[in-house]
């Protein structure tokens, strides 16, 4: 290969129209592939339902809303697993961290704090959330320290953690289920009251769309300032339009899913009113989904705009070079595992809130779903490569497969496992083919 001037138009003679399109819009073809696979799965389940069962129930506001809530805790952890895997490590303990954090946060809000503060005290849910995230971070930092400073392989440390934290969770409550959780805390798990409603959702939609447009304008201005090649203006409009379109469609979907009758009755009864004729109150975005969106935003900024993110990629690409560049790779490893632990803490909050209880099985086998989500989303186990949005799409793919199987009547766990197992291997195989072809 010889040096070619940087310009989006080079090689245009030999390139297909689609190749030119990708180059102009700077869309990662793998992103398109993942989104295509996701759409295919969604349409497939819906079509199967429509054709075989007489009713397609996948592409309905109700199912998509549930899907978004079910994806939250896996998706949140998958964003952290991306960093762990990029730096050539693995964390097998996240499911058990969810278990132990859920249990202690449950004990804190159900058994320890109410006698002191009084049942339903507004500080309880905040303390439980802060405590849960902090406990996850401490556990992660501890594991990271063993990996970084004692040079024990992460596979071993976190395999030990997988068993140890699960055992601790059981001991903490002597095997009891702790429930119900604090009523405000429970909202963090979603449900009709754990969502922001139609107006709130439109506000979020407007903010998100404005954010996308603002970032695109700023990015273009910065490139212009330095005289770099710019994307053609039609490509800017296309990417901006597509992003805003997805945001608007998501908002329309969650706002099309109404509260069920029982909740409506309950709601109006509290207001001392009858349920009006044709009453329609939309769920809107659920809190856990908004939390996931915030986590994704923060993690994307962390990975693409901060030194920390650079160092994560550098360590994954060449640990020796990273160290020679003055990066403290050990401290980075501790921080990465600490972040993973904190995210497992967030996931524990959401999962226990959703169940309205802390059980011994909380987070069981989550580590496999989380690792699979990161890998299906394009994170390379060889290190150095991975994206946050990929992990979220990966989580959506896996959770879609899981819930879709239930929806079409293959709810039996064994079918789900077979399908998810196959999907994982297929996704990695496709990724390998793709990487070979671009070489």
């Amino acid at each position: 290969m010889s040096d070619t001037p940087h310009s989006p138009q080079t090689n245009s003679k030999t390139e297909s129209a689609f190749g030119r399109f990708l180059r102009a819009t700077e869309i990662d073809p793998r992103l398109l592939g993942m989104l295509g696979a996701l759409l295919l799965i969604w349409v497939g389940f819906h079509a199967y339902g429509a054709l075989v069962l007489g009713e397609g129930s996948f592409l309905t506001p109700r199912n998509l809303w549930n899907l978004s809530v079910q994806t939250a805790s896996i998706g949140i952890m998958a964003t952290g697993m991306v960093l762990v895997i990029i730096t050539r490590n693995i964390d097998l303990s996240v499911g058990s961290i969810v278990g132990v954090v859920g249990m202690y946060a449950g004990l804190l809000q159900v058994e320890w704090l109410p006698p002191v503060l009084g049942l339903g005290h507004p500080a309880i849910w905040i303390l439980a959330v802060v405590f849960g995230i902090a406990l996850g971070a401490v556990i992660g930092a501890l594991q990271g320290t063993l990996i970084a400073y004692l040079a024990i392989p992460s596979f071993i440390v976190t395999l030990g953690g997988l068993m140890l934290w699960r055992g601790m969770a059981f001991l903490a409550s002597s095997g009891r289920t702790i429930s119900p959780v604090d009523s405000t805390f429970a909202l963090l798990g979603g449900g009709p009251y754990g969502a922001i409603g139609a107006t709130g959702s439109w506000i979020v939609c407007a903010l998100a769309a404005a954010g996308v447009i603002w970032m695109m304008i700023r990015g273009r201005a910065a490139r212009k300032l330095h005289g770099f090649a710019l994307r053609p203006i039609w490509a800017e409009y296309f990417v901006g339009g597509l992003s805003c379109g997805v945001i608007i469609i998501a908002t329309l979907v969650v706002n099309a899913y109404p509260w069920p009758k029982g909740i409506l009755k309950d709601y109006y009864a509290k207001l001392g009113q009858e349920v009006p004729e044709g009453a329609f109150i939309a769920h809107g975005f659920a809190y856990p989904v908004l939390i996931m969106a915030l986590v994704v935003l923060a993690m994307t900024v962390l990975m693409t705009r901060t030194r920390f993110g650079r160092y994560v990629f550098a360590i994954g690409g060449n640990p020796e070079a990273a160290a020679l560049s003055g990066i403290n790779t050990r401290a980075m490893t501790v921080k990465i595992f600490m972040l993973m632990g904190a995210l497992a803490g967030v996931a524990a909050v959401i999962a226990s809130a959703r169940l309205n209880s802390a059980t011994n099985a909380l987070g069981d086998l989550d580590e496999l779903m989380v690792i699979a989500a990161a890998v299906v989303g394009g994170t390379s186990l060889a290190g150095g490569v991975g994206t946050i949005y990929g992990a979220i799409i990966g989580a959506l793919v896996l959770v879609s497969l899981q819930t879709g199987m239930v929806l079409i009547g293959f709810g039996d766990g064994s079918y789900r496992k077979i399908v998810i197992g196959l999907a994982l291997v297929l996704a990695v195989y496709l990724d390998i083919i793709y990487r070979k072809r671009i070489k």
Partner: protein, 254 residues
């Protein structure tokens, strides 16, 4: 014959030793370097050249000995310490993160940030374009991971990284190993230019002609030990080859 330089050396490595397991990779070696001087480090593969300079660049920690910069003893425990003393290194392995682009590698560990503390990618790319325009005007692959670059292009990224940050002390470990004749000539010109600017340069180089052309003095190592040092102007290339191959010290050596 003796060291023609007078005054305080820019760098003085005194009696440096480092062993790996039982192998004495560097065994009581002393070398100095003056501003505006190029000192060649020569010797067979495994002589301990890279290991010696890694003690100065912070990649390794010496077992014994002293490092003096401008006459003051300093502790160099890691690469950050070395950078703080304006020591820049082009490693034999290049030490590039293959998955990152040229700008990310050039600024690795020293990223430019904007007023919010975020990495300023466009400014880093602009700076990279500037310095590459000076060092290797043909270089145009700014937006691909360096794994997609040729050996020579990768080498020029590593050189640019060492040159960009205004080093006072430059360590070049076989900088032309992957280069063709034209690029090698460009590096030679760069070395002369930097020398004229008053930098001190340690140059590890196998090609004896380059050594004769570029170096003021040459230190020869063998089996981790210092054979001797010569003023390049006072000896023939055969004298130096004799030192490298047989460990034979010519009368001019000290």
């Amino acid at each position: 014959m003796s060291n023609p330089n007078t005054g305080t050396p820019l760098v003085e490595l005194r009696d440096i030793s480092i062993a790996f397991g039982g192998i004495k990779a560097v065994d009581h070696v002393s070398v100095d370097l003056y501003p505006g001087e190029v000192v060649g480090l020569l010797g067979h593969n495994g002589a301990g050249k890279s290991t010696l300079i890694k003690c100065l660049s912070g990649a390794y920690q010496k077992d014994a000995g002293q490092i003096l910069i401008n006459g003051h003893e300093v502790e160099i425990d890691d690469p950050r310490d070395a950078r703080a003393h304006n020591i820049e290194t082009i490693y034999q392995t290049l030490a590039l993160a293959d998955n990152l682009d040229a700008a990310s590698n050039l600024f690795l560990g020293r990223e430019l940030v904007n007023s919010f503390g975020f990495v300023d990618e466009t400014r880093m790319e602009a700076e990279t374009r500037k310095i590459m325009g000076r060092l290797n005007p043909n270089f145009q692959k700014f937006n691909v991971p360096v794994s997609a670059l040729s050996g020579g292009q990768r080498q020029s990224v590593a050189i640019a990284r060492a040159v960009y940050f205004n080093a006072k002390i430059l360590i070049m470990d076989e900088p032309t190993a992957a280069l063709g004749p034209h690029e090698t000539q460009m590096v030679a010109e760069l070395i002369q230019e930097l020398k004229a600017q008053g930098l001190g340069i340690f140059l590890i180089e196998h090609d004896i002609h380059s050594v004769m052309k570029l170096c003021d003095r040459a230190v020869v190592m063998k089996n981790g030990q210092r054979v001797g040092c010569v003023n390049v102007g006072d000896v023939t290339d055969d004298d130096i080859l004799g030192m490298i191959i047989m460990g034979k010290k010519p009368p001019q050596a000290y």
